[in-house]
C-alpha cells in the first residue's frame, strides 16, 4: 500500500470571504479537529492550514483509498457546522504531484492574494507545528512541509517576488489617502490586534496620523500596543463610545458577530457631523457589517476588496512570479521522484532483485569452478544460497513491511535503499536548514 498526498481546501481564488470566514478554524479548535480528521479511514497524517485567505486540509492518505475527498468535505462541513452545498462548490482537490506543487506554491506565496507577501510562510509553519504538536503529522507530512519551507526560502532569495510585493496594509493606507487629504488632524482606531492591522497602523503613523486609539480584548495588550504607537488604549467594551473620534477604523478582532453595525455608525456619524469614516476590515470573520458601506460618507473595504486593489499593479511581480513558478516546478519534480522511490513494495522488490542477482552471479561462478557438475550439486548450492539470502533478508524486509502498516518512519525506506546501495534520486530533499 502506497502513500499519497491529498489536499482539499478553498482559498480567496475560489471562495468569497463570506464562505471563508465561516469555514475557518480558530487555533483553539485545531487539535481536536485534527484528531477527528486522522480517525477517518485511509487518513494517516493530516494538517489543517487555516488563514484569512484559505482553509486547507493537507493529508497523507492511502494511495488506494477512494472517496476521501468527499469524506474530508463532509468532515469540514461537520466541524464548522455548514451545509455541504454552501461551500463544496468552492473546494479544490489536489493529490499526488499536484498536491505537492500546490503546497509549495502556497508556502512560496505564489497563491497569495498579494503574490509574494511574506506572512503566509509563517502561517503555514504555525499550522504545520499545530499538527506536529497534535501528533497528527508523521514522516510524510514532515518531509513535504519542510521541503515546502525550503522551497519558499529559495524562491524568496532567488527572485525579487517579495521585494515587489505590495501589502494589503499599504494598499489600505493608499486608499485612505484618496479619502483624506491629510492625516495630520485624523485619528485611527484599531479594533483588535493582528499582524496586518499593526502594519497598517505603522503605515498610518509614518504618514503622520495625529493619534491612534487601540481597543483589544485584553486591556493589557491594548496598553502595550498603544505605547508602541504613542496611542490611547481604550477598553474593548467601550469601542462604540470612542468610535466617533475615529476617521480610520481598522478591524482585526476575532468575533463571531459584527462589532460595528449600520445603526451604530449612523449614530456615530451624527455625533461627527457626518465627517467621513473609512472602515478597513482585515478580520475573517468580518468585524464590520458590509451594509455600512451603503451609508453616506462611509467607506468600507474588507480583505477581498483590498486584495482586488492590490492586484491592480502587478507587472514586475508577475515576471518574478514566472521565475518563481519555474523554481517550484523544479522542486516538485525533485521531490516527487524522491517520494515515489520511497514506496515500500518497490523497495522490497528492488532489494530482492539485487540480492538475487548477486546470488545467481556467485552461484554460477562457484559452479564453474566445480569439476564434478552433478545436478545434485547445483540443487544443493542453490538451496543453500537461497536459504542464506532469505534468512538474512527476512529481518530487514519484515521491518519494512511493518513500518508500512504503521505508516511511520519514511526514513527507514531511505536508509534501506542506502544500505543496499539502491538507486536514490540524485539529491534527496534535505530538511530546511534550521531557521
Amino acid at each position: 500500500m502506497g502513500r499519497d498526498i491529498l489536499i482539499v481546501g478553498l482559498s480567496h481564488r475560489t471562495a468569497p470571504v463570506a464562505v471563508r470566514e465561516r469555514l475557518g478554524f480558530s487555533p483553539a479548535d485545531l487539535p481536536a479537529a485534527l484528531a477527528r480528521l486522522t480517525q477517518l479511514e485511509g487518513v494517516h497524517e493530516a494538517a489543517i492550514v487555516s488563514t484569512c485567505n484559505r482553509v486547507e486540509v493537507v493529508a497523507c492518505v492511502d494511495e488506494e483509498a477512494r472517496g476521501l475527498d468527499t469524506k474530508i468535505t463532509e468532515f469540514l462541513g461537520a466541524e464548522r457546522n455548514i451545509a455541504r452545498d454552501e461551500f463544496a462548490s468552492h473546494l479544490y482537490v489536489h493529490c499526488g504531484r499536484k498536491g505537492v506543487r500546490h503546497l509549495f506554491r502556497v508556502a512560496a506565496s505564489l497563491d497569495s492574494m498579494v503574490v509574494g507577501e511574506p506572512q503566509i510562510l509563517g502561517q503555514v509553519k504555525e499550522h504545520y507545528e499545530e499538527a506536529a504538536l497534535a501528533g497528527t503529522s508523521g514522516s510524510v507530512l514532515h518531509r513535504v512541509f519542510h521541503r515546502a519551507f525550503a522551497v519558499a526560502k529559495r524562491v524568496r532569495t532567488e527572485t525579487a517576488i517579495a521585494g515587489k510585493a505590495v501589502s494589503i496594509a499599504s494598499v489600505a493606507v493608499d486608499l485612505a489617502r484618496t479619502i483624506f487629504e491629510s492625516f495630520a488632524d485624523k485619528t485611527a482606531m484599531l479594533i483588535g490586534a493582528g499582524t496586518m492591522s499593526e502594519i497598517a497602523a505603522r503605515h498610518l503613523k509614518t504618514h503622520g496620523i495625529a493619534s491612534i486609539v487601540v481597543a483589544t480584548r485584553t486591556f493589557e495588550r491594548a496598553v502595550a500596543l498603544a505605547r508602541e504607537f504613542d496611542g490611547i488604549p481604550v477598553p474593548f467594551d467601550r469601542v462604540a463610545e470612542y468610535l466617533k473620534l475615529a476617521d480610520v477604523v481598522i478591524g482585526s478582532a476575532s468575533a463571531s458577530e459584527y462589532l460595528v453595525t449600520p445603526a451604530l455608525v449612523q449614530e456615530v456619524l451624527r455625533a461627527r457631523k457626518q465627517r467621513p469614516m473609512f472602515f478597513i476590515d482585515l478580520a475573517v470573520p468580518r468585524n464590520f457589517d458590509p451594509a455600512i458601506n451603503a451609508l453616506d460618507n462611509v467607506y468600507l473595504y474588507d480583505i477581498d476588496d483590498l486584495g482586488v486593489a492590490v492586484a491592480g499593479n502587478v507587472e514586475e511581480r508577475e515576471r518574478e512570479a514566472v521565475r518563481a513558478e519555474a523554481i517550484v516546478e523544479e522542486e516538485v519534480e525533485r521531490y516527487w521522484r524522491w517520494f515515489a522511490s520511497l514506496e515500500v513494495v518497490p523497495t522490497i522488490v528492488a532489494i530482492r532483485t539485487k540480492v538475487e542477482a548477486i546470488r545467481q552471479h556467485e552461484l554460477e561462478k562457484a559452479l564453474a569452478t566445480l569439476k564434478d557438475q552433478a545436478p545434485r550439486h547445483r540443487e544443493l548450492l542453490d538451496a543453500l544460497t537461497s536459504s542464506i539470502v532469505n534468512k538474512i533478508l527476512h529481518a530487514p524486509i519484515s521491518s519494512l513491511k511493518r513500518q508500512d502498516e504503521h505508516g511511520e518512519e519514511l526514513d527507514l525506506i531511505a536508509s534501506a535503499r542506502r544500505l543496499f546501495d539502491l538507486e536514490l534520486p540524485p539529491s534527496p530533499p534535505d530538511d530546511e536548514e534550521s531557521s
Binding site: 486608499l175 484618496t178 486593489a309
Partner: protein, 273 residues
C-alpha cells in the same frame, strides 16, 4: 480678428479637454502639463478677444447673449486656473475644459455684432453688478465641476473600483472642502450681485425688483444656497449630498439663462426697454 481669436481659444479648450482627460487615464504626467498649458493659452486668447470686443464697443462686452456667454466661459476658466495654482486639481480641469468649450460654442450660436450701449445702462453700476454676478456664477460653475468629480470619485470608492485612475483624483476631503469654499465664496457674490442689481434698478428704472425671470431664478438660487450653507454648518451636510445640491444649483443657473435670454428676454437678456 476678435471672433478668430475666440475660435482659436475654442479649439484650445477642446484640446485641453482631451489632454486633461487623457491625464486621468495614463500614468505619464505629460498630458497634465500640456492640458494646463493649453487651457492657460486659451484663457489668455479668450481674454484678449473679450478686451478687443470691449474696446471696439466702448463698454464692457456683456450686453449681447454672445458676449455674456463668452465672458461666463472665460471667468469659469479663470476661477479654475486661480484655484489650480493652490490645489493641484487636474481632474477638475478635465471637467472645466469641456464645460468652457461647450459654453464658448454656445456663445457662437448667439453670435451678433457689437451693440450700442442703451442710455439707461450707461452707469458705473454696470461693471460692478456684472462683475459680481458673473463671478458668482463662475464660482458656482466651478463648484459644479468639483461636485461632478466628487460624485465620480465617491462612486468609484463605493463600488470598489480602485485602480490607477483613483490616484489621479484629488482626495474626497479636498473636493468636499473646495466645494464648500466655492459655495461660501459664491454665495456672498450672488448676494452682492442681487443687491447691486436691485440698487441699480432703483436708480435706473425706479424700482428695486421687477420679477424678471433672471431675478426670480437668482432668488431661487439664493435660497437654495442659503439653505445648503445652513445645512452644512448646522447639520454637517457634506459629501454626496452637498455635491448633488450644488449640481442642482448649477442647473438653476443654466435654466435661468435659458429662460432669461432665450425664452423671455428681459433686461438681462439684452432687452432693456
Amino acid at each position: 480678428m476678435e471672433p478668430l481669436l475666440l475660435k482659436v481659444a475654442l479649439v484650445a479648450y477642446l484640446l485641453a479637454a482631451g489632454a486633461l482627460g487623457r491625464y486621468l487615464l495614463v500614468l505619464h504626467p505629460a498630458p497634465r502639463v500640456l492640458g494646463l498649458s493649453l487651457l492657460l493659452a486659451a484663457f489668455l486668447g479668450h481674454g484678449g478677444a473679450i478686451v478687443m470686443r470691449s474696446i471696439a464697443a466702448g463698454h464692457v462686452a456683456v450686453i449681447t447673449d454672445y458676449e455674456a456667454l463668452s465672458l461666463f466661459a472665460w471667468l469659469i476658466v479663470g476661477v479654475y486656473l486661480a484655484v489650480e495654482l493652490r490645489y493641484r486639481l487636474p481632474a477638475v480641469g478635465a471637467v472645466v475644459a469641456p464645460l468652457a468649450f461647450a459654453v464658448t460654442l454656445g456663445a457662437f450660436a448667439f453670435y451678433s455684432g457689437v451693440r450700442e450701449l442703451p442710455p439707461n445702462l450707461r452707469s458705473a453700476w454696470l461693471p460692478v453688478h456684472v462683475a459680481l454676478a458673473f463671478l458668482g456664477n463662475a464660482v458656482l460653475a466651478l463648484a459644479f465641476c468639483v461636485s461632478l468629480v466628487y460624485l465620480f470619485h465617491e462612486r468609484q470608492l463605493k463600488e470598489k473600483r480602485v485602480g490607477r485612475r483613483m490616484r489621479r483624483l484629488p482626495s474626497l476631503e479636498t473636493l468636499d472642502q473646495l466645494n464648500y469654499r466655492a459655495l461660501a465664496c459664491g454665495f456672498p457674490l450672488l448676494t452682492l450681485g442681487i443687491v447691486t442689481g436691485a440698487l441699480w434698478g432703483k436708480y435706473s428704472w425706479g424700482h428695486f425688483w421687477s420679477w424678471e425671470e433672471r431675478e426670480v431664478f437668482s432668488l431661487i438660487l439664493w435660497f437654495l444656497y442659503a439653505g445648503l450653507l445652513q445645512a452644512r454648518i448646522v447639520a454637517g451636510w457634506r459629501g454626496r449630498r452637498l455635491a448633488t445640491v450644488t449640481i442642482i444649483g448649477f442647473a438653476v443657473v443654466l435654466a435661468s439663462f435659458v429662460f432669461g435670454h432665450v425664452l423671455f428676454p428681459g433686461k438681462h437678456g439684452g432687452t432693456f426697454d
